[in-house]
Amino acid sequence: MKTQPAPSITGTAAADLKIVPRRHIGRWIGAAAVVLLLVWLAVSFSRAKINWPTVQEYLAVPVLIQGIGVALILTAVAMAIGLVLGVVTAVMRLSKNPVVSGVAWLYIWVFRGTPVYLQLLMWFNLALIFPVIGIPGLYSGRMIDILTPFVAASIGLGLNQGAYTSEVVRGGILSVDEGQLEAAQAVGMTRLQAMRRIVLPQAMRVIIPPVGNEVIGMLKTTSLASAIGVSEILSEAQHIYYVNNRIMELLIVCAVWYLGAVSILSIGQFYLERFFAKGSSSRQLPMTPLQRLSSIFGTNRKAQS
C-alpha cells in the first residue's frame, strides 16, 4: 500500500520541524521570589544576636537528646493506644448493636469535644477521684504511685488520639466496597474475620496518610505533657534558658531536633504507603528515592520511560 505524504502547511517537511517545550516563566519568577525571601531571612537571623556556636553546642546536650527521646517514646505509646482504640471504636460505631455503637459515639463525643490540655490535667489529678486503684483481693495501689506523669500523659494523649483516629478509620472502612464484605462472608468468614483479613487491609490505603499526619501532630503535641511534669525536649530547653537566657538559641535547637524526627517519620510513612498500595492500584508504585536517583543519574533507560 502506498500512503500520500501529508501536505505541509508552511512548506517545511514535518521531519525538519523542531518541537520547543512550553516556557515556564512563572516558575522562574516564583523561584526567584523564594530565593530572595530566604536570603532576607538568613540575613536577619545572622544579624540578630544569635550565638550560633551556642546552638551547635546545645545540639549535643544529653538532656535535650533525652528530651526528644521522651517525646518520641511518648508519641509511640500514645499513637499505639490511639490506633488500637481508634480501630476498635470505628468497628464499634459501624456495629448494628445500638449499645455498642452508642458507647463508641459517646467516647468520641467526650474525647474529641474537650481540649487535650484539660484531659491531661484531669488524668494527672485522677487521684482526687480514685485515690486507690486495684483489683479487689488481688492487688491495690495508690493512684499517685501508679499514675506517674509519663503514664498519665500516655493515657491522656492516647485516648484523645483514639477519638480522632476512630473517625479516620471509619472513613477508611466505609471507602471499601460493600461487595468485599459479602464476598468474604460468602466463603464462610464471620464479620470480624472479614474485617480483619479483607476490609481493614484495603482501608489502610485510605487510613495511612491522615494517620501519618496525626503521628507528626502527636510528636508536637507531646510538648503539652510538660504541663504535667513530663521532661520532654521543650520543657528541658526552657529549664536551660531560664538559667542562661539563651532563649532563641535553645528554641532553634529544639526546632532542629523536631524537624529531624519528623523527617524520619515521613520516610517511614512513605514506605508504609508503598506496602499497602500492593495490588490495589493499576498505577505503578511510587518510586523510592533510590530508584528516583538512579532514574535521573543512572544509565538505566528503562527507569526513565
Partner: protein
C-alpha cells in the same frame, strides 16, 4: 421429604421497608440440578438468590439447604436468627459468584482462592495451594497464581471468582448475574466454565440474562415477575412455549 432435594424454599417473603420484593417464593432444587432464574430487573431474582445464603434476612417463610434451615433455628413455631458465627458456618457449603466478581484486590489470585479454605476450613496452606492450582487449570487459568486481580480481564477475574467458590468444595453454588458486567466478547469464556461445572454434577442456581445458556444448560428454568415465580419447567417448555403473558412479553423483548 425425598433426600434428593437439596434446596427447598417455602413461602419466602422479603420486604425492604414497605416495598415487598419477594411475595411467597416456593422452589425445590434437586441435588445436581441446574436451575436458571430469569426475569426483568426488579423482579426479585437477585434478592431471592441472596436469601439462599442468608446475605439477606427473610420477612417470612423458610429456606432449607440440605437438612438445615438457612440463617435461622426453628424452635416450636418460631424462627430465631442465627448468630453471625453460625450463619458463617452454614455459608461454607454454599458458594457464591457475584456480578462484579468481588475478588479481593489486595491479594494475588492464589491468595484469593486459598483464603477461605485456609482461614475458615483450616486446610493446610500447602494442600490448599495444590488444590487452587488444580482449580485454576480447571477454569483455564493455569500459571496465573501470582497475578493481582487488576491485572486480569473481567472474564479472567470472574473465572478466578468461580475457582474461589469451588475451593470451599461447596454442595451448591449461587451465580448472581455472572456475565452481566462483562464485555460481550468475554461472556463466552465464563459460560464455558459454568457449562463444565454443570456437567460435573454440581448443583447450581443461576440468575442470568443469557437465554442461550439457560436453554442449553439448565435442567429447569424459573421465570420471575413481581416477586413471584410465575412459570417454571424445562427450558424447552418455558422458553419454547411460554404460557404466562409476562414470560411471553419478556422473551419477545429479549430475542
Amino acid at each position: 421429604m425425598t433426600t434428593n432435594v437439596l434446596v427447598r424454599a417455602e413461602n419466602v417473603h422479603k420486604s425492604f421497608g414497605l416495598n415487598e420484593v419477594l411475595k411467597g417464593i416456593n422452589l425445590e432444587v434437586n441435588s445436581g440440578e441446574v436451575v436458571c432464574l430469569l426475569g426483568a430487573s426488579g423482579s426479585g431474582k437477585s434478592t431471592f438468590l441472596r436469601c439462599i445464603n442468608h446475605l439477606e434476612t427473610l420477612s417470612n417463610g423458610r429456606i432449607w439447604v440440605g437438612d438445615k434451615v438457612v440463617g435461622y433455628r426453628q424452635d416450636g413455631n418460631r424462627l430465631f436468627e442465627l448468630s453471625d458465627k453460625e450463619a458463617a458456618r452454614q455459608r461454607r457449603s454454599i458458594g457464591m459468584v457475584f456480578q462484579r466478581f468481588n475478588l479481593f484486590p489486595h491479594m494475588t489470585v492464589l491468595e484469593n482462592i486459598i483464603e477461605g479454605p485456609v482461614l475458615v476450613n483450616k486446610v493446610k496452606p500447602a494442600e490448599a495451594k495444590r488444590h487452587a492450582s488444580e482449580l485454576l487449570a480447571r477454569v483455564g487459568l493455569e500459571g496465573r497464581e501470582g497475578s493481582y486481580p487488576r491485572q486480569l480481564s473481567g472474564g479472567q477475574q470472574q473465572r478466578v471468582a468461580i475457582a474461589r467458590a469451588l475451593a470451599m468444595k461447596p454442595e451448591l453454588i449461587l451465580f448472581d448475574e455472572p456475565t452481566s458486567a462483562l464485555d460481550p466478547e468475554l461472556v463466552g469464556e465464563v459460560l464455558d466454565v459454568m457449562k463444565d461445572l454443570a456437567k460435573s454434577g454440581l448443583t447450581m442456581i443461576v440468575v442470568t440474562h443469557e437465554i442461550g445458556f439457560a436453554k442449553e444448560v439448565a435442567d429447569r428454568v424459573a421465570f420471575m415477575h413481581g416477586g413471584e415465580i410465575v412459570e417454571i419447567g424445562p427450558p424447552a417448555e418455558v422458553l419454547g412455549n411460554p404460557q404466562h403473558e409476562r414470560t411471553k412479553a419478556f422473551l419477545s423483548r429479549v430475542f
